[in-house]
Amino acid sequence: MYAFLFFLNFLLIYTVFAVYAERKISAFIQDRYGPMEVGYYGLLQTIADLLKLVQKEDIVPFQSDRKIFKPAPIIIFVAVFAGFAVLPLTSGFAGSAIDAGLFYLLAIVSLDVMGILLAGWGSNSKYALFGAMRSIAQIISYEIPLTLSVVCVVLVAQSLNLQEIVYQQGIWINEVDAEAVNYLFGIKALGIETTEIGGILTWNILRAPIFLFAWLVFFIASLAECNRAPFDIPEAESELVAGFHVEYSGFRWAMIMLAEYGMMLLVAFLGAILFLGGWNTPLPNFGTVALADWTSGEPGTLAGNLWGAFWLISKALLTVGVQIWIRWTYPRLRLDQLMNLSWKYLTPAAILLVLLSALWRMLMI
């Protein structure tokens, strides 16, 4: 329940400032100022936009299928928001600590596609339908490399429980498994134990260095999952107006946007949890200079929770920043290029990585 309240409010506040950040970063990349008028340096611009959106009329097209059209944004948002339920924000704070958390997350997020299809189909507009079709083709294609890259982590972590996966990536690994030992790069033969060092050295991307590539595949596929540039052909402003949500206005449109930014945050969280150490600190212990100890509290204590939330949210927001940076750097992929990338490059790479992960696991024990 606390997680629900926290994540809902966090998501709303985050969206307001993510939109602001998106506009500012895009402006800076294009040598502009971006919003400057509302509030200091334009900080309240998004709030003004939100107030405007809430006041707008909820237009339902006459020819649309009302029964499908109206709940579609809710389905989209709920599917995304439900994903937050299993995220371990800190060592002691998670909505649900189910053992199949990762599996649940991937499954529930896939429902997002259904909402998009309903929105596009119910709008009874060619642009919306085109957008929905493309979105489905894209999301289903990219779900494969995404899932395979997640499977890499599962192979190494030997668990679908997100909290456990996070624990393994830091100095508190022995809290969940008293006998577990971390080695540098996950190679036991090197004989360098990093269990007590922790920090970035025990993050999954260094715990098994091939995860650097897995993380890359995951990141690219997750961009496609959020329908963000350069994979935003479902929305493709310049050709489809707004894609599947072209007919929406007012609050329903706001919910779709909220879901989009929520999805960005969710995959950023997931990426941080699976590959970047979750709520673990990036600073390692160096002998008496126990940076890792100083920057992360004992699990379950207040300090532990605050440090954990700080690190995980920082990592997630940083990832969102990179997503925004990428969006304003690369042009949109054509549909055939999109499929090309997914099926010819990412999927084979992900399959190879799964194989290598299994082998790497052999090195670790």
Binding site: A27, F28, D31, R32, Y33, W325, T329
Partner: protein, 357 residues
């Protein structure tokens, strides 16, 4: 297969290159371009950073006399009407009221003889060609560096430069009317002795003026001025401005001086318009002179001592016109000349108006 790896390689390389480029822009966004005009030495110095200006708060400099909003320095305006004439879109609306005498000088020494009862420039119509500023003889009409005068009421685009109150205008009109009445009365008194009436004169003037000054509207002025002369003078004078001016000098010292100053200071284009004015000075007498010249070559000449300086070509033209049109009416007027000396100060004004037209 080789191509496959090559693709991955180039993709990685180009993508990272792209990220570097945009990151550089984010970094540079800490600074922004200064508001420099193109002639600044540092104009090309800063090539990076935020490029936009926050317009109402920051303004890029523009040339001081760019083609932006028109401004009329009404104190320097002699209401010559040239700007209104040359305007291709008729955005300048002038309502002149002649004064009885010279009532002031512009800052460059030109006599002001016409009040601007109304001097409106409708910037909504303006095409910003700048022609009016070129023809302005006193350079009182300029284009300023102000370009932000948009409003939500198009009527606000009409800028009024006339500074007279309705009362003043009324006063000046009355003054002029009274003066004209007096003049006419005086004329009538003399004419009765000679037996010629004005009505006959007007018809002459009209055809001549129409022919000589190619089709500009001068409803107000026509009656007063025998325009022809002015125009013909102008034509002849355009070629040799000086000879024309001299006669004036002889006639009126004040005006001649002022005009000669202008003439010397201003390049030709400016002179031309003025030239017509000078002939008018003689033209003020025109009514009398024309008739006298055309009809009685002998009688006129004695006066002409002045004219001899006037380019000789003038005479034949004048003679032809006047002779052809009013053989009879002219004679009676001759007696008027003696009177002329008094009206002189007034007459120049009407002339100048007409000539301007």
């Amino acid at each position: 297969m080789k191509e496959y790896w090559q693709n991955i390689k180039t993709t990685t390389k180009t993508l990272s290159e792209g990220l570097k480029v945009t990151f550089k822009h984010i970094k540079d966004a800490r600074g922004s371009r200064e508001a420099l005009y193109t002639d600044d030495d540092n104009y090309f110095e800063r090539q990076n950073g935020i490029f936009t200006t926050q317009y109402p708060k920051e303004v890029l400099p523009v040339p001081h006399h760019g083609r932006y909003k028109l401004h009329n320095e009404i104190d320097d305006c002699i209401v010559c009407d040239k700007c209104a004439k040359v305007c291709p879109v008729n955005c300048i609306d002038i309502e002149p009221v002649r004064s009885v005498g010279e009532f002031g000088k512009t800052s460059d020494g030109t006599s002001k003889r016409i009040y601007a009862a109304k001097f409106d420039i409708d910037m909504a119509k303006c095409c910003f060609c700048g022609l009016c500023t070129v023809v302005c003889p006193t350079e009182c009409l300029t284009m300023t560096d102000e370009y932000d005068f948009s409003t939500d009421n198009i009527a606000d685009h009409n800028f009024e430069f006339g500074e007279m109150t309705p009362l003043e205008i009324l006063e000046k009109r009355k003054e002029l009317e009274e003066f004209n009445k007096q003049k006419e009365a005086a004329k009538a008194a003399k004419i009765t002795s000679a037996g010629a009436a004005k009505p006959q004169m007007k018809p002459r003037v009209a055809p001549g003026s129409a022919a000589s000054t190619a089709g500009s509207a001068k409803p107000v002025f026509r009656p007063k001025v025998p325009v022809k002369r002015a125009s013909t003078d102008a034509e002849s004078g355009a070629a040799k401005p000086k000879p024309v001016m001299r006669p004036k000098v002889v006639v009126k010292k004040k005006e001649a001086a002022a005009e000669s100053q202008e003439a010397s200071s201003n390049p030709r284009p400016v002179i031309k318009p003025k030239v017509p004015m000078k002939p008018k000075v003689p033209a003020s007498r025109n009514e009398g002179e024309e008739s006298s010249e055309g009809q009685r070559p002998k009688a006129v000449r004695p006066k002409i001592p002045i004219k001899p300086k006037v380019p000789t070509p003038e005479k034949p033209e004048e003679k032809e016109d006047t002779g052809a049109q009013k053989p009879k009416a002219v004679r009676p007027k001759v007696p008027m000349r003696p009177k002329i000396p008094t009206p002189k100060p007034d007459n120049p004004d009407p002339d100048s108006n007409e000539s301007a037209e």
